[in-house]
C-alpha cells in the first residue's frame, strides 16, 4: 500500500495544478506531456465540481429523480443497497448518474455492457479501472488481469476493492484538513453497470445476470455501492433467485414542457428558438419523446428555419414568425417520417439535378433510355429477369404458376381477376390485407428456375426491340441466351439482400428462398426490361 502511496502524493500536486488549464486549453498542455500514471483520484469524474443547483437546473424535469438518487446514495461514507435505474432510451439515466458523481466527487467504476460485449471484457474492464491500469503499446494493450469466469472475477475483484478502499481510507484520514481539487471524497466506491439489458443476450444459460445482481451479497462489502442502469424495467429480469432486489428508480419519458426546457438550454437566441419550438415540438413530441431523436431531427430543421433570416440574432415578431413558419412547413412532414436523412455532397447533387432536367427534356424522344435510368445501379439483364422471377415466385401462389405461364400467357389471368373482384370487394380486400401481413412467400429453387425459364423464353420468342439489337450484335453465337450462370446470379442477388435464403423446409429438405424486394423496385426493374410485370402478378 505504501508503495502506491508515495507517487500519489507527488502526483496530487501536479494534477491539481494542471487540472484548471485542462478545461481551457487542455489539448495543448496534455498532449505535450507524457500520460501520467493513473491514481486513485482518476476514479472520480474530474473536472470542475458542480453544485447541486446547477445539477438540478441542467436536467429539467428530473428533479425528483436526482433528489431521490442523492437520498439513496446518502451522505459521505454511508453504505447503500444496490440501485436500479431504468427508463427509455435517452431519458438522462447515464448523464444524471455521472453528473451526480461529479457533484459528489466520489470514486466510481463505470462499465457499459455495450462496449464490454462479453463477460470477460466486462470483468477485465472493471479490473483495469480498479487496478489503475492503462493499456498501451508497452504492455501490448493487454489487460491487467485475465479473468474469464465469474469466480475468478470475484476473487480478484475483492482483492482490488480492498486495496482501493484502503487507499481511500488513508487519503481521507490524511488530507481532511487540506483537500486538493481532484481528491476523491469518502471511503465508498461505486460500480456502475450501464446498458444492463444487453447482458440478457450474452449467454443463453443466463448465469451472468443473476451473478451481477448477487454481487452485492457475494462481496458482502458495505463500502461498495452497486448501480445498474437499464432500458427495460426490473420485471424483465427474472428475480426468483433470492438475492437482494435492487431499489428501482424510474426515469419516465420527458413531458413536453421538460422537453422544451431541455431544448431551450444553451441557445444563442432563445426567443428565436422558442418560436421554432412552438412550431415543431408539439407535432414531434407526439411521435417521439426521445431527446436524441428530437435533437437530431431539430438541428437541420432549425437551420432551415433560420434560412430566411439575415441576422441570426434577430428577435422575431409575429409577422416574421409566420413567414418563417411558411418557409419551414414543407420540410416538416418529410422530417417527421424519416429519421435517416442523407446529405448529398453539394457538387454531385447539383449535377444530378441538372441531369434530371436534361433527362426530362429528352424524355419524349427516348422513352426507353429514360426508363433504364430509373434504377440507379447496374444489373445485368439476366439478373433482372431472375429477380422478377423471384418476386413472382414469392408473391404468387404456386398453384397459379401453370395457368400464368401456359401458352396463352397472362390473358387468362385477367378474367379470373375480374371475376373475383365482382364477387365481393370485401373479400378481396381482406385477402390483400392477408397477403400484406404474410409478407413474401418462400419458394424452392426449382420453382424459381422454372419461372425464370418461362419468362426468358417468352421474351426471347417475342423479341423486344432491345433484344433484337443484342441478337444482331451477337450474330454468330446463338447460345448467348440468358440462361448461363443463373446460380451465380442467384448468389449475387442473395448477397445484395434482394433474395434471402431461408432454412430448409423439413418436408422437402431443400433450401427455400424468399424475395425481399419491394414491389416498387420490382416494377422499376420490370420497366427497364419493358416486361409487363403486372400482367403476371396475382392480386387477391
Amino acid at each position: 500500500m505504501g508503495k502506491e502511496e508515495s507517487p500519489q502524493i507527488t502526483r496530487r500536486t501536479t494534477r491539481s495544478s494542471s487540472s484548471t488549464p485542462i478545461l481551457k486549453n487542455g489539448e495543448e498542455t496534455t498532449k505535450t506531456s507524457e500520460p501520467h500514471p493513473l491514481t486513485i483520484n482518476d476514479l472520480v469524474f474530474g473536472g470542475e465540481p458542480i453544485k447541486l443547483d446547477e445539477l438540478l437546473s441542467s436536467f429539467p424535469g428530473r428533479r425528483i429523480q436526482i433528489l431521490e438518487l442523492m437520498r439513496l446514495l446518502g451522505p459521505l461514507n454511508s453504505p447503500m443497497l444496490p440501485l436500479f435505474l431504468y427508463g427509455g432510451t435517452s431519458t438522462g439515466k447515464t448523464s444524471i448518474i455521472l453528473q451526480i458523481f461529479r457533484h459528489l466527487n466520489r470514486p466510481f467504476v463505470y462499465s457499459s455492457c455495450l462496449t464490454c460485449y462479453s463477460p470477460r471484457i466486462l470483468f477485465e474492464s472493471i479490473m483495469n479501472q480498479l487496478l489503475l491500469h492503462r493499456k498501451n503499446a508497452d504492455n501490448g494493450y493487454a489487460s491487467a488481469k485475465r479473468c474469464e469466469r465469474p469466480s475468478d472475477f470475484v476473487v480478484s475483484l475483492r482483492e482490488a476493492l480492498t486495496n482501493v478502499l484502503n487507499t481511500l481510507k488513508e487519503n481521507s484520514g490524511k488530507s481532511s484538513s487540506r483537500k486538493p481539487a481532484g481528491q476523491a471524497n469518502g471511503r465508498m466506491i461505486y460500480l456502475i453497470f450501464d446498458n444492463l439489458e444487453l447482458v440478457r443476450e450474452w449467454d443463453k444459460s443466463s448465469s451472468i445476470l443473476p451473478f451481477l445482481f448477487e454481487l452485492y451479497d457475494i462481496l458482502n462489502m458495505p463500502e461498495v455501492g452497486l448501480i445498474f442502469i437499464s432500458k427495460v424495467s426490473p420485471d424483465a429480469y427474472y428475480s426468483d433467485r433470492g438475492y437482494v432486489e435492487p431499489i428501482p428508480i424510474l426515469f419516465p419519458d420527458y413531458t413536453e414542457d421538460s422537453l422544451r426546457q431541455i431544448f431551450m438550454r444553451n441557445q444563442a437566441n432563445p426567443k428565436l428558438y422558442s418560436s421554432f419550438l412552438d412550431v415543431v415540438l408539439r407535432t414531434f413530441s407526439r411521435i417521439t419523446r426521445r431527446v436524441d431523436e428530437l435533437s437530431t431531427a431539430f438541428s437541420p430543421l432549425f437551420k432551415k428555419y433560420c434560412e430566411p433570416l439575415s441576422d441570426p440574432g434577430l428577435v422575431p415578431n409575429e409577422d416574421m414568425k409566420r413567414k418563417l413558419f411558411s418557409h419551414l412547413q414543407p420540410h416538416l412532414a418529410p422530417a417527421l417520417n424519416e429519421i435517416f436523412k442523407v446529405q448529398s455532397q453539394p457538387s454531385p447533387e447539383v449535377e444530378a439535378k441538372q441531369e434530371k432536367v436534361k433527362r426530362k427534356s429528352n424524355a419524349n424522344k427516348l422513352g426507353g433510355r429514360e426508363a433504364f435510368d430509373e434504377i440507379d445501379f447496374h444489373m445485368s439483364t439476366s439478373a433482372k429477369y431472375l429477380i422478377i422471377s423471384a418476386f413472382l415466385a414469392s408473391r404468387n401462389p404456386a398453384t397459379l404458376d401453370a395457368s400464368l405461364f401456359d401458352s396463352t400467357g397472362g390473358s387468362d389471368n385477367r378474367k379470373r381477376k375480374r371475376k373475383s373482384s365482382e364477387k365481393s370487394m370485401e373479400q378481396k380486400e381482406t385477402a390483400e390485407q392477408e397477403l400484406l401481413m404474410k409478407g413474401p412467400g418462400t419458394f424452392p429453387l426449382e420453382r424459381l428456375l422454372a419461372i425464370f425459364q418461362c419468362l426468358t423464353s417468352v421474351v426471347e420468342s417475342s423479341l423486344g426491340e432491345d433484344q433484337q439489337i443484342n441478337e444482331g450484335l451477337g450474330a454468330g453465337n446463338g447460345d448467348s441466351g440468358l440462361m448461363s450462370d443463373v446460380l451465380l446470379q442467384l448468389s449475387s442477388l442473395c448477397n445484395a439482400n434482394f433474395i434471402s435464403k431461408g432454412g430448409s423446409c423439413p418436408l422437402e429438405g431443400s433450401t427455400r428462398y424468399r424475395a425481399t424486394i419491394s414491389e416498387d423496385l420490382a416494377l422499376k426493374v420490370a420497366r427497364s426490361l419493358k416486361f409487363p410485370l403486372s400482367k403476371y402478378l396475382y392480386r387477391g
Binding site: I339, F340, Q345
Partner: protein
Amino acid sequence: MATPDHAENDLQPFFVLHKALVQKSERKSSGSRKIRRRIELSPISAKNAEKMEIGTGEERDDHHYEHLRMEAFNFVWSKIESTIKDVLRNINLNVFNEIHRWVCESFDAIKSCGTTLTKATHSYPIVTDATFRQLFTGLVFTKNMEFVDDLMTFEELGLHLKSHGCHVANLSSIDFSANNGIGGCLRSLLRQFLMVTLDAADISILASWYSDQGNYNKPVVVIIDDMERCCGSVLSDFILMLSEWAVKVPVILIMGVATTLDAPRNILPSNVLQHLHVSKFLLGSPSERMDAIVEAVLVRLCSGFCVGYKVAAFMRNYFLRQDGTLTSFIRALKIACVEHFSSEPLSFMLKALFVEENSQGFWSEEHALFPEEMLKYAFDLPSCRRNNTEERTGENLAHDLSELKRLQKCWSTTVLCLYEAGKYNKIQLLDLFCEAVVPCLGNSTASNHHLGSGISSSSDHSIHHQYLISEKCSFICQAIRKVRDLPVVLLYQLLKSWEKLTEDVIEIHDKVKELQSLLKFENGKSLKQDLTNIPKRHTSRSHLNMDKDSKVLNEKAARLMETMVRDYMQPVECIPFHEIVCFKNVDKLQSESWGED
C-alpha cells in the same frame, strides 16, 4: 436480413469470378511452357506450325518466334493492364478527393466539440448531446449489384486517405459475420490500427491507442467495403459501440453500398440509423467505367491489340446480359489476348509495330532477316489475298503495316468524334464501338445507311446492312443526327473537342478548323469567349436570331461527320494484315470463358 448461412453463399461469386483470372495469371507466370503446349494443341496453330516447319525444318526458329510472341504478349498485356488501372484510378480520383475533403470537414466538426486527452480513455461517455454522438458516415454508392469490381476501389480509397494523413482500416463483410460477432470485427479493426492481435478485443483499446502521442489529432477512418453483405446485427452493435465512444475516438465511417439507399434502411434498425450522420458519394457507374476502358484500350488502342466485331459483340453481350462486371470483361479481354498471341504466328509483330517509336527502323533491320515462310504466310492471310497484286517483299509488308496503323488511327479518331457527339444523346461508347468495328463490303452504301437518308439499296447484303435494317436507326446515325439538333453553344463545344481529337489527322483537323472559324464568324457578336457561362435565356435569344445560320452550321458539321464516317472509319477487319493485330475467334473465346458445353 442476415441469414445464418450467410457466410455460405458469401464467397461464391467472389471465388468463381476470380478463379479463372488467377488461373490465367498463373498460367502466364508459371512460364511459357503451358502456352507453348497449347499452341501445339490448338488446331490453327498446329497447322501454322506445320506450314512453317515444312518450309524451314528448323525447330530453333520456331522457338525463337514463340519466344517473341510470348514477349509481345507480356508487353501488350502489361500495357493494357496498366492502362486500365490508370483509367479506373482517374475516374475515381475526383470522388476520392471529395471524400477526403469530407473526412477533413467531419474531423473538424468532431474536434470542435472539444475533448481533452485525459478524458479520452475514460470508460464513461463524455458527451451527452445527441448530435455529437452521431457518427459521420459516408455512403459510397458503387452502382453495381456485383461488388467484385470495387474490391480494388475501396483498397485504393484507403491508400488515398492514408497518404493524406488519416488512420485507415479496411473492413469487409467477412469481418461482420454472425459467427464471429462483434469481437471479430473489433479484432480485425485493432489488428489494422495497432498491428497487434488480441483475443479480447474491445474498443477501449482503440481509445488508448488513439491517445498515444503519434496517433492523436488525425481522423480515424473505417471503410466497410460491402455493407449489404454484412450481418445486420453485428454492424448495428459496431455502430452503437462507436457512437458510445464518439468524440473520444473520432471515427469516420465509410460504407460501400452496391444497390440503393434502402439497403442500410433494411439492414439496420432505426435506433442505429439515427446514430449515423450520412453523406452520400457516387462512384462512376459500371457503364461509365466501361466506356472509359473501351476508349483507352479498344478505341485509342493503347497497345495495338484489337478485337473483331464478333468478339466485341460477344463481350458487350456478356457485360450487358450475363455478368455486368468489369472484372469479367477484363478477363475476357485477357483471354482474347492470350488466345491471339498463342494462335497467330505473326502476332509478335504487334509489339514492334505499335509500341516502338521508330517502327521504321525496326523493320528495316528485321524484315531482311524475315524467313521466306513468314512472308508467304503473311501474304496468304485472307485479308491480304483479297487484293493481292503486290510483290511479296518485306518492304511491302512493312508498308502495309504502317498503312494499317494509319487507318486505325483514322478509325479511332472518327469513333471518338462520334462519341463526343453521342455524349449529348447519352450514347455509350461501348455501343458505338461495337457498331464501328462491324466490317462492311461497300463503304459508300453503308454510309448511306449511316446517314439514314432513306435510300435503301436492296442489292447490299452486308452484315452491316442487315444490322441497320433490324435496328432501324443505329447508334452512329443517332450520333450524327444529334449533331444536326445541337444548339449553337453545344455545337461550339463539340467542335472544340473535335479539334482536340483530330490533331493527328490533318485532313479532318483542317476541316474542323474551318467550321470553327465559320462558327466564330457568324456568331461573332453573340458568342463570348466564356461560352459555357452564358445563361439559358441569352442563348435562346441568340438562337432566335441566328436560327437559320446555326442550322446551316449544324448541317455542315453533320456533313463533316458523315464524311469522316464514310472515308476514315474503316473497320479493322477491312484492312489488309489485320489478322496480325486483331483477334476474331469468338468461338474460342466463348468456350474459354464459359467452359466447354
